[in-house]
Amino acid sequence: MTDPDYDGPILEIDNLSISFFTRLREIPAVMDFSVRVRPGEAMGLVGESGCGKSTVALGVMQDLGVNGRVVGGSIKFKGRDLGQMSDAELRDIRGSEIAMIYQEPMASLNPAMKIGKQLMEVPIIHKGISEKEAYDRALEVVTDVKLPDPKRILDAYPHQLSGGQQQRIVIAMALMSKPSLLILDEPTTALDVTVEAAVVELVKELGVKYGTSMLFISHNLGLVLETCDRLCVMYSGEAVETGSIEDVFDKMRHPYTQALFRSIPLPGADKNSKPLIAIPGNFPLPHERPPGCNFGPRCDYFEEGRCDAQTIPMATVEGDERHRTRCLRFEEIDWSMIPLGSDTKEKSEPGDVILKIDDLKKYYQVAASALFSGGNKKVVKANETLSFEARESETLAIVGESGCGKSTFAKVLMGLETATEGSVILDNREIGQTEIANRDTKTVSDIQMVFQNPFDTLNPSMTVGRQIIRALEIFAVGNSETERRDRMLQLLDLVKLPREFAGRMPRQLSGGQKQRVGIARAFAGDARIVVADEPVSALDVSVQAAVTDLLMEIQREHKTTLLFISHDLSIVRYLSDRVMVMYLGHVVELGTTDQVFAPPYHPYTEALLSAVPIADTRVKKKHIVLEGDIPSAMNPPPGCPFQTRCRWKSKVPGNLCETEVPPMKTTADGLQIKCHLTDSQMEEMEPVITIAAE
């Protein structure tokens, strides 16, 4: 076992290189990577997908599979080289000294085993303690991760818990044997924002309580800011900048880090006056990396003959504590933050109302039992009294977490489902009761959708051009094959894709490119209303900016109404004109973006704002953590839908919140809030996000 009195760095990675060997070639995944994690320190590992951050984690676990191999450098855990250890020694360390938490909680738990058994296994195997002791320890840890009713939880199967609870169990399991190092690989990506905030909070607290060092892998800079002491930015297999959070966030010394910060919507960015700057070009494939600096071809400061002439070593930034960057020119570049995008774009004025939703309700009947469907039927109220208007060339954001009914609303609008009650009026025509098969071509082509998952949005067995042409055929655009082909090529121009892409198969395109094709397809019939269902949430940050910009630009040109469904408040704040917040099928707040992001808030909006991680050290946020999970739509709480998690509930007299659904109140300047709080109580609310004066 390891020396208990060891007080050096917990994890030392020196010049680590990892490659994967395929039949064709060697693919270097990580090159010359060095990092040190001291006891009790939380180290963030940030980068886009494919940059090698997860490979580093697997390297630490010495679990690279048959093809992966450490080809250079060393990984030392508490001073011992992990690469020299035998399998038995490694087994001893994994799960007891080093624990790992993965992205998908359901996949990390054995569905056929009770939670208690799975937790108890860890110390029984590693420490050889008795079952009784193990049970006590499991109970203690489950209490520590703040799960209600720990005894019941220990006796439950994984599927009986919600996603957030499952992730807490995974964390508990990692803590069972009091590890010295905890590796978290995107631990909250699969969770909702408010749940994510609670889990992050928990991880932070436990880190302090147990004194565990952490390696926190994430693509979300905001999250890293909230959880870590130091961070390491990775690009294309290399660490490009490493240092303390403050140094890297405020005094970045690598062009990639700078570009990354410019492409994420921070408070202050605005789609018209201060647009985001996307990083030009594409991420290089692992076997097609450029000579010299990997970021060279996409870098604003690239100098030919210098940046591409040699391998770039890590250089120490003078004056900062352990701040290093992999840039030759970092001392020459003027790092004073260039204000976000300078080219001001004309603000488009909203036109006439083209879509009017009035008192829309959508209920689903669910049979309690499939076999005896005659008996009691349950009603799922997916949408409850939705009313709003959308104007021409306006961006209306629909915000809410999973299960809030935003996708159901999209289905009703598209005609895939019909409304239970109420009306959907497009240009003075009622379409809420008309299924898509009965809608005329014009109506169908007027309302189109951009989907969330870029890997799913295109049919993998049809060429890109063919898919767009098919949409044109359906929308009766063009009279002949050649006309449609020309129009298809124009659409590719519109979304800024090269015309050669018409003959490509979707698998040859990157995520961002696929999403562009999805946008082109949606605009095939000159759509007037585009429902964008989280169109950028699955993309990497640098690509997000480009795709968002494209959507905005097309909207400006075509005067499209954009219904932007999202849970990411940063991007909503950046691009929307009005915001609608939904919770469990109810609209809880509706107003212009400025109104929604400033007090008075609906209590849910307040919590949501507080939960969203913002990658800006100047931002001070009020800390609101919601208790519990989102209730099931099958079994909603009586009265106000949010009453089970609301922190303002005690301010409302009597049990009004539990018995009555609050009415929609409209303030003088048009903000609508569904809450029982009085106006004066609303006035007292403080802003959640404040930006410290510079």
């Binding site: 490659s19 191999r69 895939l416 055929e473």
Partner: protein
């Protein structure tokens, strides 16, 4: 004249070599298995140029020995085959003589592999098959029998004797027996694999049997797939009552004892009522419906083009359908004989019907579950939101993306069908009794198996290698389709 031995005069040199290599290989294999528990494998280190090198320990040396001795065995086998081709008839023994008879097959195989490997990067999934050794072996075995069927059947290039003619005195004679009355050494001088119970040449019958199997099995499987797909897609896509009904029907058929079904189908009384004909009429209708819906859903936005296309395609398909189901002597005689170009042996029709009937429910289940999975994808939602019809979504959005598992299953299912044909032949069902197909010949050979094993073995080995080849091919396809 002298009877042929297995390896002829070449065997004098090659047999000891083969024995030597086989012995080394066997010893090395056992040693590796046992020492594997004790010894550690050598360390692998990565080199700067992107290659890996392994330290040589005892285990690695044993591995080398196995590799080389295996290569030796393969070379000796090749020498037997090649020796038979280049040396005069008889020198290479039975194996050499058979190898010489299969010469067109060897040439075709080599040409296929050479062309495919040269252009494999441009051939999609088929080309990727040549990256997988398993897939290549499987494809080789399958193509061997396909070429044998083509060259041996209609082209008549391989067989040495008429598969139906009997030569007196050769009843149940062992392989390599000389044919009486032929004096000169040459093709046809011997029954290469001996004679069967009716003194017919086993080698020729095996080759001729391949043609029957290769004709029926893939086609019957294709029909089963058409039926399964046409019913499985809507069941998975619509779900609900339709799904419940069709799934129940499929379960019902799967639960029915198939052997009983086969016996029923060939009973003369049942045939006289026309039940097999009516079943054929229903089952064969599905491919026609499938084609019609497939094209209509795709081209209905261009009415003029669509109508022309449908008239041509459905015209041809419809006429073929009528010609197939309308047979003389059955209650279904729709087309007059003068314009009925297709006459199918009643037995083969029954074989088709039973193969489709038995396989379609399984295909139905596979397609249904694939449709259930794929219809949740965003591209299906995108098609729905632009107002596509249900059949377009099923046939053009869902089906092409289900092709991977379906192709694999198709290969496996041809194998099952081949075995099923054998089973049918074994029971004496379907095909005429003198038919040289493998199932029937195995059945005939079985009767004297304890005294004369040689008549039953060649068709059994042929069946085994074909099905094994199909299974390996399916494995290779599955493995390669998952990459990328």
């Amino acid at each position: 004249m002298e009877p042929l031995t297995w390896t002829g005069t070449l065997g004098a040199y090659l047999n000891p070599l083969l024995a030597l290599f086989a012995a080394v290989f066997a010893v090395a294999a056992v040693a590796q298995f046992i020492l594997g528990f004790v010894l550690q494998p050598g360390r692998t280190t990565a080199n700067a140029d992107g290659t890996l090198s392994v330290e040589r320990g005892p285990l690695e040396w044993i591995g080398e020995a196995m590799k080389w001795s295996f290569l030796g065995i393969v070379l000796v086998v090749l020498a037997y085959l090649l020796g038979g081709i280049v040396t005069p008839y008889g020198t290479g023994g039975i194996i050499g003589a058979m190898s010489a008879r299969f010469l067109p097959v060897w040439i075709a195989l080599i040409a296929t592999f050479a062309l495919s490997i040269t252009f494999k990067r441009r051939l999609g999934l088929y080309g990727k098959l040549f990256d997988s050794p398993i897939g290549m072996v499987g494809f080789g075995l399958v193509m061997f029998w396909v070429f044998t069927a083509i060259f041996g059947g209609p082209l008549d290039m391989i067989i040495t004797h008429d598969p139906l003619s009997q030569v007196s005195g050769l009843k149940n004679k062992i392989p390599g027996v000389p044919v009486p009355g032929i004096e000169e050494m040459g093709v046809g001088a011997h029954y290469l694999l001996g004679g069967d119970n009716l003194a017919r040449d086993i080698f020729s019958r095996m080759v001729e049997g391949a043609w029957i199997v290769i004709q029926i099995a893939p086609l019957a499987t294709l029909f089963a797939f058409m039926v399964g797909i046409t019913l499985g897609l809507p069941a998975g896509y619509y779900g609900g009552a339709l799904d419940t009904f069709l799934s129940f029907l499929a379960n019902l058929i799967l639960a029915f004892p198939v052997i009983l079904l086969f016996y029923l189908l060939v009973t003369p009384e049942i045939v006289a009522t026309g039940i097999p004909s009516y079943m054929a009429a229903v089952l064969f209708l599905f491919p026609v419906i499938f084609l019609g819906v497939l094209l209509n859903s795709r081209y209905y936005t261009q009415p003029t083009f669509r109508t022309g296309l449908l008239i041509v395609v459905l015209g041809i398909a419809g006429f073929t359908y009528l010609a197939i189901i309308s047979q003389r002597g059955t209650p279904l005689q729709i087309l007059p004989n003068a314009i009925d170009p297709i006459t199918i042996n009643g037995g083969i029709l029954v074989v088709f019907v039973s193969v489709v009937f038995v396989n379609a429910p399984t295909v139905f289940r596979i397609v249904r579950s694939l449709a259930l999975d794929i219809q949740t994808r965003d591209y299906v939602a995108a098609a729905q939101t632009r107002g596509e019809g249900a059949w377009y979504i099923m046939l053009w959005e869902i089906l092409p993306n289900a092709r991977g598992p379906l192709i694999v299953d198709f290969c496996l299912r041809i194998g099952y069908t081949t075995i099923l044909l054998g089973t049918l032949g074994f029971f004496g069902l379907g095909l005429p009794p003198e038919s040289p197909d493998w199932g029937s010949t195995i059945n005939e050979g079985r009767k004297l198996l304890s005294i004369y094993p040689h008549p039953a073995l060649p068709p059994a080995v042929a069946l085994l290698t074909l099905v094994l080849g199909l299974n390996l091919l399916a494995d290779g396809l599955r493995e390669e389709s998952l990459k990328d």
